[in-house]
Amino acid sequence: MEYIVVSVLNGVVHGLLLFMVSAGLTLIFGMMGVLNFAHAWFYMLGAYVGFTLTRLGGFWIGLLLAPIVAGLAGVLVERYMLRRVHKYGHAHELLLTFGLAFIIEEVIKLFYGDALVSYQMPNYMRFAAFTIFETNYPFYRLFMGAVALAMFVILYLLLTRTRVGIVVRAATYRPTTVEALGHNLPVVYMAVFAGGSALAGLAGAVAGAFYPTGPNMAVDFGTLVFVVVVIGGLGSVVGALIASLMIGLFISFSVGLNVSIADLFGLIGLGSWASDVGGLFTLQLSTIANSMPFLLMLLVLLIRPAGLMGDRQ
């Protein structure tokens, strides 16, 4: 019981964190179809902005300005770079953002060095929110979860309940019609990209204070954010949330499961044969738990390519 409750709690919070990082990409990749490889690097940018401003002015100023800086960077990238290569297709957008990822990472390293930086949450946020089965539950984990949920609610309402949201969603399906109706499509795209980047920046400023902020923090999320968006279904914020939670819970529970394919073969009496084969068959689930998102994505793509909640192919 204890294990289940703690695992659920951990899984949900980790899932929410994943959602927080990939929420912006559901807009950029999911809605605009831009393969923005640099998304995780905007997350990194946000963390370093948060780190710098925490030193200069305070944690909350960092939290406030990190999304603004990341959003402005997003405006520049969209307006002066992506827009120029959009007509050449996905690959060019990907490569451009790939180069951008290099540039962001190397410039940050140039100024902040190759080692981790000490980006810490304020001390008054460092306490156990509650104790469950003698396990302290850090308040900051709940705080991150709350930020992620707030992000979700705002995004969801914005997209479904406001005129802006309707225009954005329409632009993803029928761009020419939207333009013909008198909406300034380039501005819509720029705003969406900036919004997505800002969300990544905010995620960086929030999560960076809990997880190590360092030169490798973007690479760690680099492809995982795409996995979340694809599993969830392109353009679906709800899907991304569900996908994130699924991945978080899946990892959280699989850590405790020491089963391998050989054990499954054992059920039909081939256990010893499978153990002898070794390799793939004897890998325990807990040891490869964090590669599971890719397997999940593979299954989703092959079985239901539109993703869990997506409606497009």
Binding site: V85, L94, G99, F102, E106, G279, L301
Partner: protein, 434 residues
């Protein structure tokens, strides 16, 4: 298609490649081997990408599998399980690459566009995760190591031997791929890229066709991987990394995915760039990133595309108009680059621990720093004037250079209608209309 105008330069290039080892230093010889392997990898990748429009994010899987297949074969030979001529080892890579290309490709090609890319990415990532834990096949963290055995009376100990082995396979593979694009299946690939639906209506089984084309791309990718294994005599699981997959995509597009030889050109240039600059500066990845961005922004058709454009549009005597403007562009570019490099490297030096230690020793004084063998005062006007002047002159000349080049281009090109050079431009070398 094959006429004197294309065959003569090709033969000349081949001849040059054959005698090249006589002139190259050992370092450059080794670089040449790696450049050819990278070029072959890029050509194989571009076969799926440029021809059939399949943007694979997971080609490192077949590259790595080809390498490990070759290593296991070499190991078997080393331990005298059976004999196998060393020059034929890449066949193992070809076979394994093709088989896995068929199996993985069958799944991946059920999807198109971004979804196809994601399937290939997921497959490669899974392999990357499993490989370090599967000791028997991939040798754990330190990988598999073996030695090239002598065969056919050749020792294969020296880099020159490896160079000719690689060259042989490169030429044969490149020719096979080029010939493939001329076969009916190769032509079908182009059609698949441009309009898959219509191909299906014509009665072709597009899934089978796409799988086959993907597998053939993987076959040559496997050859490239095997050549790498032969050159390094070892490999470990990092060969499967997403980084390797990304590199080949980048190199292909820098070179120009729309032309046949562009990807090879891009791969060679970027491999050489990485090799040279990584020992010169710690910020080489920043410069590499800048190259990607600049090429995508200002030459989206890639270097090969630019060359192709010139070959098609510049009149026979048009070059005399272009030489001077291009030199000017070169100067402007160099000025801007020099300014940027100066700033980046200065920041780098001033923020190193060693420099901070010097400052600490001098009680916090901004002591002079060394760069490019010169000494600079951090706050001397001269130090600041250098990059400012470089960038200022460069950016003043930039619009001038652009205007002059644009005018020269008009004068140099003949009056043919300006067709758009999208990445989907025909891959076949276009014969000039006479």
């Amino acid at each position: 298609m094959i006429n004197a105008r294309t065959i003569v330069p090709l033969l000349a290039a081949l001849g040059l490649l054959v005698i090249l080892p006589l002139f190259l230093s050992p370092n450059l010889l080794n670089a040449a081997i790696k450049m050819m392997i990278a070029a072959l990898f890029a050509l194989a990748f571009a076969l799926a990408m440029g021809q059939a429009g399949m943007l694979s994010f997971g080609h490192s899987a077949y590259y790595g599998l080809g390498a490990f297949a070759a290593l296991h074969l070499m190991r078997a030979v080393e331990h005298k399980l059976f004999g196998f001529p060393t020059p034929m080892i890449p066949l193992a890579g070809a076979l394994i690459g093709f088989l896995f290309g068929l199996v993985f490709g069958w799944f991946a090609t059920q999807r198109t566009g971004v979804y196809f890319s994601m399937v290939t990415l997921a497959l490669a990532e899974l392999l990357f995760t499993l490989a370090p834990t599967w000791n028997a096949l991939f040798g754990g963290e330190s990988g598999i190591s073996t030695i090239r055995g002598p065969s056919w009376g050749i020792n294969f100990g020296s880099d020159a031997d490896v160079y000719y082995l690689t060259l042989g396979w490169f030429v044969v593979s490149a020719w096979c791929m080029w010939a493939f694009t001329k076969t009916p299946v190769g032509r079908l690939a182009l059609a698949l890229r441009d309009n898959e639906q219509r191909v299906r209506f014509l009665g072709f089984n597009t899934h089978v066709a796409r799988t086959l084309i993907f597998a053939i791309s993987c076959l040559f990718t496997g050859v490239a991987g095997a050549l790498l294994a032969i050159a390094n005599e070892a490999a470990n699981y990092t060969i499967f990394s997403a980084q390797a997959s990304a590199n080949v995509v980048l190199q292909t597009f820098i070179g120009g995915a729309g032309t046949f030889f562009g990807p090879a050109l891009g791969a060679m240039i970027m491999t050489f760039f990485a090799r040279i600059t990584s020992d010169l500066t710690r910020s080489w990845l920043l410069y590499q990133g800048l190259i990607f961005v600049l090429v995508m922004l200002f030459a989206p058709q890639g270097l090969g595309g630019l060359a192709d454009l010139h070959a098609r549009k510049v009149r026979t005597n048009g070059w005399k108009h272009l030489v001077a403007p291009y030199l000017l562009c070169l100067v402007v570019g160099l000025l801007l680059i020099a300014g940027l490099v100066f700033v980046v490297e200065s920041i780098h030096v001033v923020l190193t621990d060693a420099y901070l230690a010097k400052r600490a020793a001098a009680k916090g004084e901004w002591v002079p720093y060394e760069l490019f063998g010169q000494t600079f005062e951090p706050f001397s006007p001269v130090t600041w004037a250098i990059p400012i002047m470089l960038v200022a002159i460069g950016s003043t000349l930039l619009p001038v250079a652009r205007r002059i080049t644009a005018r020269a281009w008009l004068a140099a090109t003949r009056d043919v209608p300006d067709e758009p050079i999208a990445p989907s431009a025909s891959a076949a070398p276009v014969a000039p209309p006479s």
